[in-house]
Subunit: 373 residues, 2 copies
């Protein structure tokens, strides 16, 4: 564990600025991690990813376990070498995907049996196998295997939480590669008492980091915010806090204001492939005819490769002409937008002005939002 350390550098209100040291380099927090589900951030090359300022990338254990297999990735030098990302990497545990993608799923106390969404082949994941798969992949941060349940069903949420806690203990016991950090996951749906119970249990495991799972899965924004507010004082100050699967600009700002350090989401790259560009004033749907003669970049305030070189008119042309470059350029822009937003938030925390930054952001975002399509 000597290679992994989290240093809290500043707080502004509940917002935190920190430094996460990993064997593959440092991550300044708060940070947004682009998602490379199948060991590739879709439509973006690793050098483009590094150039836009990404510092931490997430890959999905479920997908890589099914294809090409963790042993294969290990034979090829581990995930960093395989995908040519020599910087910090995080793998999830596969839990979320098993519960959202896999078929014919059966959960028991020992693990989950399911069928691959790719070929229907029978599969089984347990806390121990999720750890050994992640150790073969070799990311800097691994996640404990958890059970996700729909957020409003208290009985099922409670069962899933209890199981998640038992599985987190088993993951901690199975964890052997100490050059990889293991994060536990807090569950509990929208129920404050369960969330608090889960936070205390996971905190007591004394793992290098703590994730908050089971949010952004159907609950309202107010519910998400109130859960984060309940959790903030219950989580240890000296560990990074990771809000899983959250990545809209507004959610990042509200999460950071409530004490979150790490985020990941497919949203910026998925939106890009659907021709939507993120800005701090809302989204631009670049396929619209109104952009066909627009000489402006997506966002005059942005310094990404796309905004420095290409007009909205060109991007719209690429979209209409079905050129792959459209997905690449808009993905670069969307990711850069989130990287810049997090850097600016971090600076505002260091300056002790996070709430002022958030207030300005909310005003601008709200004002322009009606122009979204």
């Amino acid at each position: 564990m000597s290679d992994f350390a989290f240093t809290l550098q500043a707080r502004s209100g509940r917002a935190r600025a920190g430094l996460l040291a990993t064997p593959h380099g440092q991550v300044l927090t708060p940070v947004f991690a682009p998602v490379g589900t199948q060991a590739s951030v879709k439509a973006v090359s690793p050098d483009q990813l590094a150039a836009l300022g990404a510092s931490l990338v997430l890959a999905n254990t479920y997908h890589l376990h099914l294809r090409p297999g963790a042993e294969r990735v290990a034979e090829l030098g581990g995930l960093h070498a395989f995908m040519a990302w020599p910087h910090p990497l995080l793998t999830d545990s596969g839990g979320f995907q098993v519960f959202s993608l896999a078929e014919a799923r059966r959960v028991d106390d020992d693990g989950v049996t399911f069928r691959s969404h790719l070929d229907g082949s029978p599969q089984r994941l347990t806390p121990e196998s999720a750890m050994s798969i992640q150790e073969l992949l070799g990311a800097d941060i691994m996640m404990a295997f958890d059970e996700c349940a729909s957020p409003y069903d208290r009985r099922r949420i409670e069962d899933a939480m209890v199981r998640t806690h038992a599985w987190a203990e088993r993951c901690r016991s199975a964890w052997s590669r100490k050059d990889q950090a293991l994060f536990g996951i807090v569950q509990g749906g929208v129920f404050p008492d369960l969330r608090l119970e889960s936070a205390r249990f996971i905190a007591d495991l004394d793992l290098p980091g703590i994730a908050i799972g089971g949010l952004s899965v159907g609950e309202t924004k107010d519910e998400m915010h109130s859960i984060l507010e309940i959790l903030d004082p219950a989580l240890p100050e000296d560990r990074p806090r990771y809000l899983m699967g959250v990545g809209s600009p507004e959610d990042l700002v509200e999460g950071v204001l409530r004490g979150i350090d790490l985020f990941d989401c497919v949203l910026p790259t998925r939106l890009a492939r659907n021709h939507a560009a993120l800005t701090r004033l809302g989204r631009l749907h670049l396929r619209k005819a109104e952009f066909s003669a627009d000489p402006r970049p997506i966002d005059a305030a942005c310094d990404c490769y796309a905004c420095l070189h290409f007009s909205r008119a060109y991007l719209r042309h690429l979209i209409v002409a079905r050129e792959m470059l459209a997905s690449t350029l808009i993905s670069i822009h969307n990711l850069r937008t989130l990287v810049r937003l997090m850097a600016d938030l971090r600076q505002s925390i260091l300056d002790g002005e996070a709430e002022e930054f958030a207030a300005r952001f909310r005003t601008a975002y709200r004002k322009h939002r009606p122009s979204e399509a």
Copy 2:
């Protein structure tokens, strides 16, 4: 025309090394030009294109005329600005695409009436409109509007050649932007007497460059080679010679050996999207299962971004997982392979050893070719 000049630097046998100066920079010849049909080299960004050593890029007048329209491109600053390629650009005349893509085509002596392959809209191109479209696009090199006919039908080939000559004269008359160079096109199918007649006619127009059209459209390699051998002494030494639509490694070598300076082709990027990687030892079909655990780069002799960072196993994984990055990386590799081949050929010409280089290339290529699938 002061911005455009061709300097012949060396000959080795019939092979030529030269320097093409354009308003947007120099091109060392022999050169292979990647094709950006719709103002984008498919799956590759302009910075990746520059990094792999591309110096001249081709865009298609037919496609850009139909969408987004040349006036639109001109309003947005011209094609260089539109597609963010500040280096030399060439546009074809639209002729070839009208004869290969457009529907309900009718040719008369004045021009061609056809329907757009995109929306069926009625369209007409004449030598004069092809020139005005290309002047709006603003590429460094423009092509005269020509008629392409199938290579073996002597009567139709002869008619098309006569028309191509008349149209070349009209293009020369319509040519007003002298910061753009106009190339004439030699036609004549597989008929030596027609090719010679066409070469003399086009040479007499005294244009800044001469293209050879109507090859690589169904004739045999031997026929292509013999036409090039017939044309070489008939073409002026002091003008660049451009063999249109040719781009396999073997065709580049054989073309250069027969006095060609410029080539373009969609082949390297189209093959890449079909998972085939070019090497000097033949093609690798990277989807094959034999590559699933192969830790080697596509080509150990290649210095492209893909070969420096990624294994065949990773590329195969991307292909099987349908990740866009596969097309990007293999396109980069294939284009770099042709750029390196042309650079090595150029050096062999400067060293007076082009025939020896070609002999070694042919031996290696022939030896490994049976392993192609």
